[in-house]
């Protein structure tokens, strides 16, 4: 690393980014020089995306400094990023998409130059790509779109790309194409460019990175030349050390009868708490929503539902914003107590009052609007809505977002008690510690179940191992 000093591209000094009370990035010092290829790893929420957005100028740091040596802004300094969420305009052609991030391209005949530039970039990175510069993006496959996006990232676009940040660039590429990309990254770095490479495929990180940086909870916890890491060592550094208390769940001595088995392989017994884990966006939420929708009807009203849903994304999936706390709690149980189609208002009030005290909703009157509550208390209302029903199956889609620690403990205890009474819980959580409290854990990767863990096998290390594509490198 001795030659870093003469060709620095960007230097971060104690850069931090806070979103309200959330410390997404908590003082990171880092420098990227020409020729560097940095592998950036860490679990979800470790701060990778925030770090990328600081480096490419998308976010300003809350404190600390970021210095670009090639110019005042990231753009002038030649810093580019390629995101995992495809950011191309689907209604434009490949060449037109290049134009969007290439402001110097204008005047008559700009299409011709755009075509030539994107074609050259594609040819260089992905020989035999077979993508026409005039193809409209929505006609391309996901892999082809990802290739176009990468090619735009590396294209000169008037200046020259000096640092390219690739966020999960290979997630939709097959082996061969991914190999071409890795080869190009090595060539690019050898000729004086720099790359920050983020991937959950640890094998790729080892193949391409010269240095590996491990982020955890907004801090750099380890940074070494890639030769100094072993694969297992890297996983250990990423994970937390599981606290003793997480083992309280233990194995159940008396498993009930199986009440659920999906084509995907998801299974649950009566009275069991089943966790869904893995990296965010790998199909857990979709699997749960699909399960809920297939077990409930949009046509047939039911007196007592077979399954209830606790939403984590409150505005999208949970809260009825115009209503009071009372009405929000009672909507799923109205039919249980209704007489001749009329709402039984006494029973409704009783249920709301009971759950207000049981789950501790902080309000002086349940007739207050739901939006008068804080996010955590709104979440309690959603728990109350689900638990007030007699449904034997409770589906929870990452329900602990924005819930404080004390409430979490209360809710854990309540879930335990309800499970002991014979209810089954399906619980997706992005927090591995929560999943470790379950009786059985399914780990998702790429919309498939990659592991089923039970009993003492449920540990943060095992879950991380199954979340990342370990076998790829072996």
């Amino acid at each position: 690393m001795s030659d870093h000093e003469n060709a620095l591209i960007v230097t971060l000094d104690q850069a931090a980014k806070h979103f309200g009370r959330l410390r997404a990035l908590d003082g990171v010092s880092l420098s990227v020089a020409a020729g560097d290829c940095i592998g950036l790893v860490g679990h979800n929420g470790a701060g990778k995306s925030t770090l990328v957005n600081l480096i490419n100028g998308g976010l300003a740091p809350s404190s600390g400094t970021i210095v670009f040596s090639g110019g005042d802004t990231a753009h002038v300094a030649g810093v580019r990023s390629v995101f995992q969420e495809l950011s191309l305009c689907p209604n434009l052609t490949v060449a037109e998409n290049l134009k969007i991030s290439h402001s110097a391209l204008k005047g008559p005949g700009w299409r011709r130059s755009a075509r030539a530039e994107i074609r050259a970039s594609l040819d260089e990175i992905f020989p035999d790509h077979g993508i026409s510069a005039d193809a409209q993006v929505d006609m391309l496959s996901i892999a082809q779109r990802q290739m176009v996006e990468i090619a735009i990232g590396f294209a000169p676009r008037g200046t020259q790309a000096r640092l390219v940040i690739l966020d999960e660039p290979t997630s939709s590429l097959d082996e061969g194409i991914a190999g071409q990309l890795l080869a190009h990254i090595r060539r690019f770095c050898a000729s004086g460019g720099a790359v920050v490479f983020i991937s959950h495929m640890l094998g790729e990180i080892f193949k391409v990175a010269s240095r590996i940086i491990v982020l955890k909870d907004g801090r750099i916890v380890d940074e070494r030349a890639s030769g100094a890491f072993t694969r297992q060592g890297l996983v250990d550094v990423m994970g937390h050390v599981a606290p003793e208390s997480a083992q309280v769940a233990g194995a159940r001595s008396d498993p009930g009868s199986e009440i659920l088995r999906t084509a995907q392989g998801l299974a649950a017994r009566k009275g069991e708490i089943v966790g869904l884990s893995g990296l965010a966006g790998h199909g857990q939420a979709e699997a749960l929503a699909h399960l809920y929708l297939s077990r409930s009807s949009a046509w047939r009203p039911r007196k007592s539902p077979e399954v209830v849903f606790v939403a984590g994304d409150r505005p999208r999936d949970g809260v009825l914003p115009l209503w009071s706390i009372l009405c929000n709690i009672s909507i799923s149980v109205l039919q249980q107590t209704a007489r001749r189609g009329l709402v039984n208002r006494q029973a409704e009030t009783a249920i709301a009052a009971e759950w207000k005290s049981r789950i501790g909703v902080r309000t002086d009157d349940v007739r207050n609007p739901i939006l008068s509550l804080s996010g955590g208390n709104q979440q309690k209302v959603l728990f109350a809505r689900a638990l007030a029903s007699q449904a034997p199956l409770v589906i929870m889609d990452d329900p602990m977002r924005g819930v404080d620690v004390g409430t979490k403990q209360d809710v854990y205890a309540m879930i335990r008690a309800e499970a002991a009474n014979g209810r089954t819980f399906l619980w997706y959580s992005t927090e591995t510690e929560e999943v470790c409290q379950c009786d059985r854990v399914f780990v998702f990767r790429n919309h498939e179940i990659s592991a089923e863990l039970t009993g003492v096998d449920i540990s943060e290390e095992k879950i991380l191992e199954a979340s990342f594509a370990m076998q790829e490198a072996s």
Binding site: A289, W299, R300, R316, L320, I331, L334, G341, V343
Partner: protein, 314 residues
Amino acid sequence: MTPLNLLAKPWIWSWLAASAAFGLTLGLTSGRGAGELAYAALSFGAFAAIVGLGQMLVITLGPGNVDLSIPATMTLAATLALKAMSSNPGTAFLGLGIALGVGVAAGLANYALIFLLRLPPIIATLAASLVYQSFAIWSNRGLRIKPPAGLADFATGRFLGLPNVAWVGLALAIVVWVVLERTVWGRMLLATGQNLRVARLAGVPVELVRATTYVLVAVFASLAGYLLASFSGGAALNMGAEYLLMSIAVVVIGGTSIAGGNSNVPGVWGAALFMFLVVSMLNSYGAGAGVRNVLTGTIIIAIVIAASTRRVRA
């Protein structure tokens, strides 16, 4: 309830506007003809209120939900009902049954287009209304059949000093209010209108709710068509035309949220009276057709703004 609380109710504005229009009209005649004006407003307002109540339920379903086939449904129901009765005495209930049957069929057809073909309701109901209108033209063939004498007497008659049609409109308003405030179905409708996905995930049978709502609006429209044809001495092919915008206007002026999930029954009646009174006010002040339209539009905008800003503060 304090007066200030009353001002925070969105429906109060349509009633205030209706009273103002009533007062200004009578100002010209220094109070003469108050009874006649009120009677006329209740008679004509009743039809707007009945279709408005239906439209309100649909609009409560949330953004994008509206029934534009109301005029055609009214015309078709009236035409078929009058044809079946062919002015024979004692056939009033047969005609009513046919009208309501047309309503159920039209509502089911509308919803089938929306659900099966995934058409936006605005397109589905507009397209369907062309079909209904064609059916009406085809079966009407320019005939003007008079309603049976007994039915015509009922539609133009009065009870306890109020027009019979107003009693019908009032009864429907009370039924709709009870349904919305007290029944499980009403709760489900309001939940669906706030957020369809949330309602579905909370176990509400949202498609059943939407289907029944689209059937209800068509049934209300067909009832209004049946009464209007009986009231005015026969069905005409353009009899529903003015109720397209009228049905939406009374909902909006009445304080129902266009964003869905929030209904307002008393406001619909206030707005229906206002829509009649404002025109008669401008007429009696000698405004021409152009001025009348401009002023009506301006006044509507002013009331909607007044009602909505109040609601934000409340």
